[in-house]
């Protein structure tokens, strides 16, 4: 290759890099499903519309929960809406998700969940039995997670305006004194842990929808992550850099967010990523990557190298985290990217998805 060609190529690559690093802009003419999928489109909505509009320092951090100091007391606050079809699926239901989802956003921010509010949007015609079952599920999950539901609201909308029921929960927690979490503290050499097998929830939902004629026994992993966080804080203390709840967009999206916000590279060793064989089988048939599939009870933690082993064994001792694993590490180069070392011995880039993971045909 002649030097001039080389220079032109470098220029082209630099141009891509500039475009890539531009602050996200929200330019779409209308909202599509992609804006809710947790990938690039979601990022453009948050970074391009919400953050500039509200000009909040805590919001700009885009953590799972916002932090606020009230009279010297460190609190974390978060809110989440739950829309899922079908309402019940193997391993759980919308009620459990509504509790655990919000509890987990607090937990990964290093806050012990204390209280929840509960807003219900119910569709005219919803059967009372369904509602009763979900209220039971909410109560059960709240008890298991050790949170109290202290306020609520109910609205009913006309038939056809909600898919049975929507639930919104807001959670308040107290920031644990052991926690010193911030993506900015991530350093090259740090280790990346996941708290168990990934992709169970997303695949369970896809199959429960019956859109694919595929019959497999996969259960959602919905559960409170506080016990896992508690164990990690105990074992690693201030060596625990940062945690994320790997929900929409899966582990891949979480790692991309961290790589970008900390300006480091995340290296993942594919062979070490725990995936249930039935999940990897279903994903292979559907042509999707389990790394992008949603979880409802799995966290990603970045830990200083000297604490990694301690943290991992503490995590594995927690019920539901027996399959926790160290899946990779943080490097300096190339900043902002997630690289996968494949089990076959090659490498690939794991980028943010543009929208929902769509099954591929070719």
């Amino acid at each position: 290759m002649t030097p001039s060609v080389d220079a032109r190529e470098r220029e082209a690559l630099e141009k891509i890099e500039r475009v890539r690093n531009m602050p996200p802009r929200f330019r779409d003419e209308q909202i599509t499903m992609a804006h809710g999928a947790g990938g690039r489109a979601t990022a453009s909505l948050i970074g391009g519309l919400f953050v500039p509009a509200f000009a909040s320092a805590s919001l700009a951090l885009q953590d799972d929960a916002g932090r606020i100091q009230l009279d010297g007391l460190g609190l974390a606050l978060t809110t989440d809406s739950f829309v899922v079809r079908p309402l019940r699926f193997p391993g759980g239901s919308i009620g459990e998700l509504a509790v655990n989802g919000t509890v987990n956003d607090l937990a990964v921010a290093g806050a012990r969940p204390a209280a929840l509010t509960l807003s219900l949007v119910l569709e005219e015609g919803l059967s009372s039995d369904t509602l009763r079952a979900e209220v039971d599920a909410i109560a059960r999950a709240a008890k298991a997670a050790g949170v109290e539901i202290i306020a609520g609201d109910t609205k009913v909308v006309e038939r056809g305006h909600a898919d049975g029921m929507y639930i919104c929960t807001t959670g308040l927690g107290r920031i644990d004194p052991r926690a010193q979490l911030s993506p900015a503290s991530i350093r090259p050499g740090d280790r990346v842990l996941v708290s168990g097998r990934i992709g169970d929830h997303g695949v369970a939902i896809m199959l429960a929808r019956g859109e694919f004629d595929l019959d497999a026994t996969i259960e959602s992993d919905t559960r409170s992550l506080w016990p896992a966080v508690d164990a990690l804080l105990d074992a690693a203390g201030s060596s625990l850099r940062c945690m994320r709840d790997a929900t929409r967009g899966g582990v891949a999206s979480v790692l991309n967010e961290l790589a970008r916000s900390s300006n480091v590279a995340m290296i993942v060793h594919e062979a070490r990523v725990p995936v249930h064989p039935a999940v990897s089988g279903a994903c292979e048939l559907l042509g999707i990557d389990p790394m992008y599939v949603a979880n409802e009870g799995k966290l990603v933690a970045v830990v200083a190298p000297d604490a990694a082993e301690r943290a991992l064994s503490a995590l594995r001792a927690v019920r539901g985290c027996e399959d926790a694993a160290e899946i990779g590490e943080v490097r300096e180069e190339p900043p902002g990217m997630v690289l996968v070392h494949t089990a076959f011995g090659g490498r690939r880039v794991m980028d943010l998805l543009v929208g929902d993971p769509l099954p591929r045909i070719c």
Binding site: T217, A278, G281, I361
Partner: protein, 58 residues
């Protein structure tokens, strides 16, 4: 995928993959199939029979 249920008069067979996921598969290109046959399946259609005996596909 392995055939787990098939009827002589039907062009659909129920198949199962190694992890136990089941789905219906069109078998017009490879018919007739027998239970235990191993099929190469693309977009819900069996393109090819890989093995005719149960038990030798490991």
């Amino acid at each position: 995928m392995r055939v787990v249920d098939a009827h002589a008069d039907d062009d659909i067979a129920t198949c199962e993959d190694a992890e136990g996921s089941r789905s219906d598969v069109l078998i017009g290109l490879v018919a007739p199939v027998a239970i235990g046959d191993l099929l190469l399946v693309h977009a819900g259609t069996a393109l090819l029979r890989l093995h005719t005996n149960a038990g030798d596909a490991a």
